[in-house]
């Protein structure tokens, strides 16, 4: 039952014949898993939270960066460097105090998939990489959960509902993660900020329809092209030899899918503060680049660094020797990974990201 305050909050839903109080109660009892709190997750979480989905679980291991905000307006400038899930939870609780929000500050992996997937009525894929997308698909098939998937590329986006009432899944369409030739590098292509807002809202709409059993649930892919202002949709079909959802399935339990950006996750591209200290004290110290924003230098700065903000990392390093050893640091060790990815693209060969960033360094060695 709803309190007086909740009734006030949801009154425009109550007025809709297709929702009414009973539909709103269904929403309140619903549990939805949102994986990824970036461009797609921002509108998905905001609108499902506002709509009164009673229990939202947010999963993301990234922190908020300034360059996210043009397309991830659930976060804000004050929350830079905060985990996205906590930033989003904070905003959702301000928006709608009548829902429960659980935040899990980890990337979705096999373990997590195994432990939590069964708890939800619906899963929404708002991630930005193929490993997560395939893992989420497989988890939804194996735990029999409908999946609302959205994805964007530059000016285009797509939305699909997979595994709805055992219908077609991602692997019916694309049996395995794509070849590297289709994914030439993992540094993010530019994206128009409004695009994920549109695609994410389409996902939220499909999710709401599934929870309320409303209208026609699309067993199709919807393609949107912003430049041509066009929508197209194509019927999805179950593949008779789908590796996960057909009678000939070969995938019967969850395993990690390694299709990461090579540089994104590998520990070998990180250097610890102690390793850096040792190198700096040695005879051939590496060049250390600080890739934080100008404003952050006022708070703390290491004397031996060259400053090139992340947004200018390719241009600002143009004149450097591509083969020299370079260590990049930021505040906490997240943006510096993006930085070395971008630098690798323009030919740098000997790059490391400082694990833990300047925070870890100053904790142990001070400002030096």
């Amino acid at each position: 039952m709803f309190s007086k305050e909740e009734k006030n909050f949801y009154q425009r839903h109550f007025l809709l014949d297709d929702i009414q109080v009973s539909g709103q109660e269904k929403l309140k009892k619903s549990k939805v898993l949102i994986i990824g709190l970036g461009g797609l997750g921002s509108p998905v979480a905001t609108y499902l939270g506002a709509a009164g989905v009673g229990s939202l679980t947010l999963v993301d291991g990234d922190v908020v960066e300034a360059s996210n905000l043009h397309r991830q307006p659930i976060h804000n400038y004050q929350n830079i460097d905060k985990y996205k899930v906590y930033s989003a939870k904070e905003q959702l609780e301000k928006l709608n105090p009548f829902i429960e929000v659980e935040a899990i500050n980890k990337h979705f992996d096999v373990n997590l998939a195994q432990t939590i997937t069964s708890k939800f009525d619906l899963v929404i894929d708002c991630t930005d990489n193929f490993s997560a997308r395939y893992l989420i698909n497989d988890a939804c098939v194996l735990f029999n959960k409908p999946l609302v998937s959205g994805a964007i590329y530059k000016f285009e986006g797509q939305v699909s509902v997979y595994n709805y009432k055992k219908g077609p899944c991602l692997r019916c369409l694309y049996p395995k993660p794509p070849s590297d030739s289709l994914v030439p590098n993992c540094a993010q292509a530019g994206v128009l900020g409004i695009l994920p807002g549109i695609i994410g809202n389409l996902q939220a709409m499909e999710a709401l329809k599934i929870l309320l059993n409303l209208g026609v649930i699309q067993e199709k892919t919807l393609l949107y092209n912003a430049l041509e202002s066009s929508f197209k949709s194509f019927g999805l079909r179950k593949h008779k030899s789908c590796p996960v959802c057909s009678s000939k399935a070969t995938i019967t339990k969850l395993t990690a899918i390694h299709k990461e950006c090579k540089m994104n996750t590998l520990k070998e591209f990180e250097i610890s503060i102690d390793q850096l200290k040792e190198k700096l004290d040695g005879t051939n110290p590496p060049l250390v680049i600080d890739c934080r924003e100008h404003s952050e230098l006022e708070v703390s700065r290491l004397s031996f660094t060259k400053h090139v903000p992340l947004g200018e990392i390719q241009i600002g390093t143009e004149d450097l020797d591509k083969d020299q050893e370079i260590v990049v640091h930021c505040r906490s060790g997240v943006r510096s990974i993006t930085a070395i990815n971008l630098m690798a693209q323009v030919g740098f060969t000997n790059l490391k990201s400082l694990a833990g960033g300047i925070i870890a360094w100053t904790n142990k060695y001070g400002m030096e």
């Binding site: 797609l40 994805a151 794509p178 194509f234």
Partner: protein
Amino acid sequence: MKIQIEYFAIYRDLLGISSEELEVSDGLSIKELFLQKTDALMDRDELLESTVFAVNSDYEDCDYILKEGDEIVFIPPVSGG
């Protein structure tokens, strides 16, 4: 016969155009069309393996034989979020 091709996401970048109208010979399959269009690209077999094709309003296998007036879309997997 005339067909219309649209290139989604990365195909726009790989081929440098977003759509085109094309005169093709009768009996051409999607696979043959794909190989023609991607002639200049590397790893075409792998590309083909990770691409799906929509014709008019449905997905079709790459053995599908094209018909006059078909609108075909090359759809690679997309992962941005």
